[in-house]
Symmetry: C2
Subunit: 321 residues, 2 copies
């Protein structure tokens, strides 16, 4: 672990925005030393953001710093885990102090919101990319897996869908008029950490939506060995997303576009009452969008009841996307 050994990001690594009592040793040695409380499992997840692949050149650095942490906290949320620590590998073509300062401030703002301490990492010169590992804690047996959905379970999502996709397509088309509320859906997603914690013990399965509803729901169905029906007219949409879909006649946007970082989860009938009980305390809206069925496959129906067939989910290694 060599992050912070040299001058560039020394302060960022050496003086993290958050200091936790369970960090015996933070940045500055060969490893960090962390104390896991008794009765907790460690949940770990790692995601990379690569320039030109996961973010556009010229993306606001504050928001990029936020997003690098957010996409990983979203994975912890999808397990019902409580965030604790992060390590960060930063690869940059050169040094731009003001850019870096903004990046770090965005990162630190979200870290403070969720009490996440940066405990290590690495800095390298090269094509711009960031890899973050987030560490969380969860009570054994309470983690939300992809494999627990069963026929008859209701299917829910948090927040709204397709906003990040609508923003990305407008930006790629050179549209300067993208509203900031839409743009924030793409550049500054809110990880649903509090909601994920509340859903542990209630939801039967959960996943975060990084690659699009169709692809991510299929991961749940594959892991759980069942199928699902989604009602298109129930999908929660921002007004601007709806307007974008109408303008381009693109009904698939909230199904195939990635980067929403909302939670998709299933709830058995026996736990619907428990879900209703926690709803007022959740940090976001949740919407019932369909149900789990025993027939394999993923079915989308519109308001007339007609089946619609969506395209493919985002795949970083597909030829073009």
């Amino acid at each position: 672990m060599t992050g912070g050994e040299f001058s560039l990001i020394d302060n960022f690594f050496a003086s993290p925005a958050v200091t936790r009592a369970d960090v015996s040793l933070g940045c500055g040695d060969d490893c960090a030393l962390l104390d896991i409380p008794p009765g907790r499992q460690l949940a770990v997840t790692m995601d990379s953001l690569v320039a030109g692949r996961h973010f556009l050149p010229g993306t606001d650095p504050w928001r990029l710093g936020w997003k690098v942490l957010a996409v990983n906290l979203s994975d912890l949320a999808a397990m019902g885990a409580e965030p604790a620590w992060a390590t960060l590998a930063v690869t940059l073509p050169g040094i731009d102090e003001s850019w870096l300062g903004a990046f770090m401030e965005g990162f630190s703002t979200l870290a403070r919101q969720h009490a996440v301490q940066l405990v290590g990492g690495d800095t390298t010169r090269g094509p711009m990319a960031f890899t973050l590992q987030a560490h969380g804690l969860v009570e054994p047996g309470r983690a939300l897996l992809r494999s627990g959905a069963r026929p008859g379970d209701a299917l829910y999502v948090t927040g709204t869908l397709g906003g990040a996709g609508a923003a990305l397509r407008q930006l790629l088309a050179g549209d300067e008029e993208v509203s900031d509320s839409l743009r924030r859906r793409l550049e500054q997603p809110e990880p649903r950490v509090g909601t994920g914690r509340s859903l542990a013990g209630i939801a039967s399965a959960c996943i975060d939506l990084s690659d699009g509803l169709a692809g991510d729901l299929q991961h749940v169905l594959d892991a759980s060995g069942c199928g699902a029906m989604v009602e298109l007219d129930r999908l929660p949409l921002m007004q601007e997303t709806r307007a974008f879909m109408q303008r381009y006649d693109d009904w698939q946007l909230p199904i195939t576009a990635g980067d929403d970082y909302e939670l998709l989860f299933t709830v058995p009938p026996s736990r619907e009452e428990a879900l209703r009980a926690v709803l007022p305390a959740l940090d976001c809206e949740v919407t019932r969008i369909g149900r789990i069925e025993s027939d394999p496959g993923l079915r989308f129906v519109d308001e007339t009841g007609i089946m619609r067939r969506p395209g493919h989910a985002w795949d970083h290694f597909a030829d073009e996307d």
Copy 2:
């Protein structure tokens, strides 16, 4: 965590070479779930290898897969920690099945040697780079820190120095005749895991040599608040490294060249006997090269007793290196 979700590295992530009983959930969900045994701290470290920066284009993929894991296990060794789990972010410009197969086999060979289970990661298209996080376990209070060296402690290194640097310089000069034994020092370093474990409780400070003896020893001195004297004629060298140094009249090579991944450690006089007792069981040679002194600064003396002044350590963000 999206590694293995798509076709490319599915098998690598889904069927790790090592399966450990303390992994409640491995690859394939939003997070891995890991059980920390009672009475152990978690040691974590993250290092990136970026093409053209940390390895030459055309590097043998089997050895590259080995090295990505080795450099991180070396950090665990430097803490005296026992390796347990790894996560791996892979960024590749495209898919080359035979290249990837060799990479994975090199990775898996070292993983098997140290019982390290791959529990997650990410795959992305982009300029070739690898970021690995290694997780290890260590008894509280027994981790080897950089900060424990005291005046009067003896200074030791494992293995030999400068071989990786000699190989790199020959390869950069277009020399096709580099011997494989020298080349392996650069491309397939042996993390000193067993020795690190044995030194816990004996060494007062420890660091692994990734950036060169001068730079890494200075990190120990900075953290410990003291100085050191190193006797140049005691530095352990391979015969080929010595020949290279003589040919180019480069006495600094074993001091300034990086990538050796040996352990540098200090031993108080009271624990010299304990060190002698474990020597026969160590997985490598150890050599006494100098001592810790109260005067700040780092002094190198040659066999005539004359002080020599070395150059600078490797710095990824220096203008050129």
